[in-house]
Amino acid sequence: MTSAPPAGPGVVKTAPGPTAPPSTPGGRRDVRRVLTRALPLSPAVVLLLLFLAGPIAYCVYIAFTDLQLTGQAESSFIGFDNFRAAFKDDAFLNAVWLTLVFTVLSSLIGQNTLGLSLAVLMQRASKPVRTVTGGIVIAAWVLPEVVAGFLLYAFFRREGTLNAVLDWLHLPSQNWLFTLPILAVSFANVWRGTAFSMLVYSAALNEIPKEITEAAEVDGAGGWRRMWHITLPMIRRSIGTNLMLNTLQTLSVFGLIWVMTRGGPGNRSQTLPLFMYEQAFQKSMIGYGTAVALLLLVVGSLFSLVYMRLLRTEV
């Protein structure tokens, strides 16, 4: 009669499973550790909530009210009325159209193409030429917006530099700010903003390995073909980034246009930021102006989406 040896101690310990609650002392320490670590962040978080998130949320709220700066006893929540009013407002639609014209002309076509051409040309230029050209282009970019606006006002006005040059060439002159205001401000924006694209593209072009272009050259590809089949695909990401930044910057240009034309004559150069300012601060309709600001945000995101789509890397 042998009895089985006892199978170990009689108390069977259950191993803590994955769903077991954490032992309290260690858990409390974890929470406390998280809190202590978060503590240094808290002033920044408080400030951000107060000065950034708060106002943004308030803005979104205002866009749905009929708040005015003056002239009403109390404001009320009106749902989507401001947005409905905007799409019925010819002046708003005109501003959207002009914003698109201004953005496509000055950012997409102007700054982008000119920036790329300058970058490509400067790659081949001698150092002094590169320095001088780069200096001039960047100087235009560094100037404060208002100063640039006044300079270009002086260039385009009826007694301005451009007409003086045209007269000297015996070409017909005109008051550009009056006859073609949107073209004049678009040109001004190209003049001022090209430097940024030039810098982005210069950096991108320097990244292209020399071997590849040389190999193409050996295979007998001409300049344009090399550009189209090698350079552009290789700097595609930079193109996307640059277009995005450029467009968003151009969409919000205010000072330049304000100084040159104040959105006039009529509404012929009144882009969305100027339209917004007129509604909110000149006509005191803060609610409507803010709604338009949100719509401008939508326009900006649409552009961004299109770029992301077009320039998705198929890797």
Binding site: R32, T36, L39, V46, T70, A85, G266, Q282
Partner: protein, 455 residues
Amino acid sequence: MRPTAVPLLLATLLTATALSACGSESGSDPDTVKISFKQSTDNSIKVMDTYLADIKEQFEKANPGKRVELVPIKAPDSEYYTKLQQVLRSPKTAPDLVYEDTFLINSDITSGYLKPLDPYLAKWDDWSQFIDTAKEAAQAQDGKTYGVPDGTDTRGLWFDKAIFKKAGLPADWQPTNWADILDAARAIKAKVPGVIPMNIYTGKPAGEAATMQGFEMLLYGTASGANESPLYDPASKKWITGSQGFKDSLEFVETVFKEKLGPDVSDALDPNIATRVRGEFLPKGKLGINLDGSWLPQDWLEGSGHEWPEWSEKLGLAYMPTQTGQAPSKVSMSGGWTWAIPSKAGNPDLAFEFIKTMQTKANAQKWYIANSGISVRTDVAEDPAYVKAQPGIKFFTDLVASTHYRPAYPAYPKVSTAIQEAMEGVTTGDSSVAEAAKGYDEELKTATDNQVIKK
């Protein structure tokens, strides 16, 4: 908690309290009257500051133990309005007395920023010296009065005698209807090359100047009686859509620019046109007729940067006639500023005492003269010392009898913009008179929430 956490927590709390302390309690001392006014952005112009310092001294001498605190707001007009509206919103920041433009006073009344003054005015003898039209300038739609006007302005035709002589026009020119004005301009165009025959402000860049000095000077001259208001119908409390008078006024503007009797269209639509007229066109003898305000000589006084003491010999003055010369034959528009008491003011009674000190006959007269303003008090208007103080003052003061105040209700700033847009359309030739008037009707409905009436 580890020792380092304590200072961090403290820092956070401090930040939060510092931020919430931004709007700390200023409180209101029952013996101090706080006064906000518009200080010129030009540091060399101290007209208002000097005047108020003088009144402050008088007031403190007359009321021992009371103090006056002047709180200037240094800003151009449009920004001053915005800043003022912000301080009026809270009892913590509201002054006891504010300087309000009649252009916006009704908007601020509707917002509940201001206090009705009727109980005070009823007990104030000098109020009877104020002319009725000026009293109405600060009256709201509820019939109560919210401000005491400290002077006004009127508008008329300034003309260059030298240019008139060359054009074969009389030195004591006085048109009796619109056609006379256009004929004079045509004569100048034909005989005096190189000058602008006439100027009328137009379009959005000129802003309220286009509406008031330009359009309303025409529109109010189309009415068939002195009391008729062609822009706003007080009986139904509605705005009037493009009437025949409205179209006629647009047609006048169209004629001026179509026949090239005005400045070049691109100059007329330059935001700086008003400055150029005062500082360049008139003093240099480049402009024949100018439809403008009584305040022009302000810029030509000594020490103003555009000194032109001989203006009174070089320029003649004529009143603006009604459309066909119908009664009352003259037309003028008036604006001006008022002293008002915020609804959230701590010491309204003391503030009104200060208004009384400002508006004794002697002090009011001092102010009108210092400011190139036009008297709104009958006793000052009759005083020979006031009449002789500046050339032109009598001419413009006499116009007060036939002047109109803008229907400056809350919707007015938007209505004004709609008028400027209609003017601009016919100025550039982008739209015909009919199209511009139709566009105005539509804008008007939006601007006034459909409170419109056809006449």
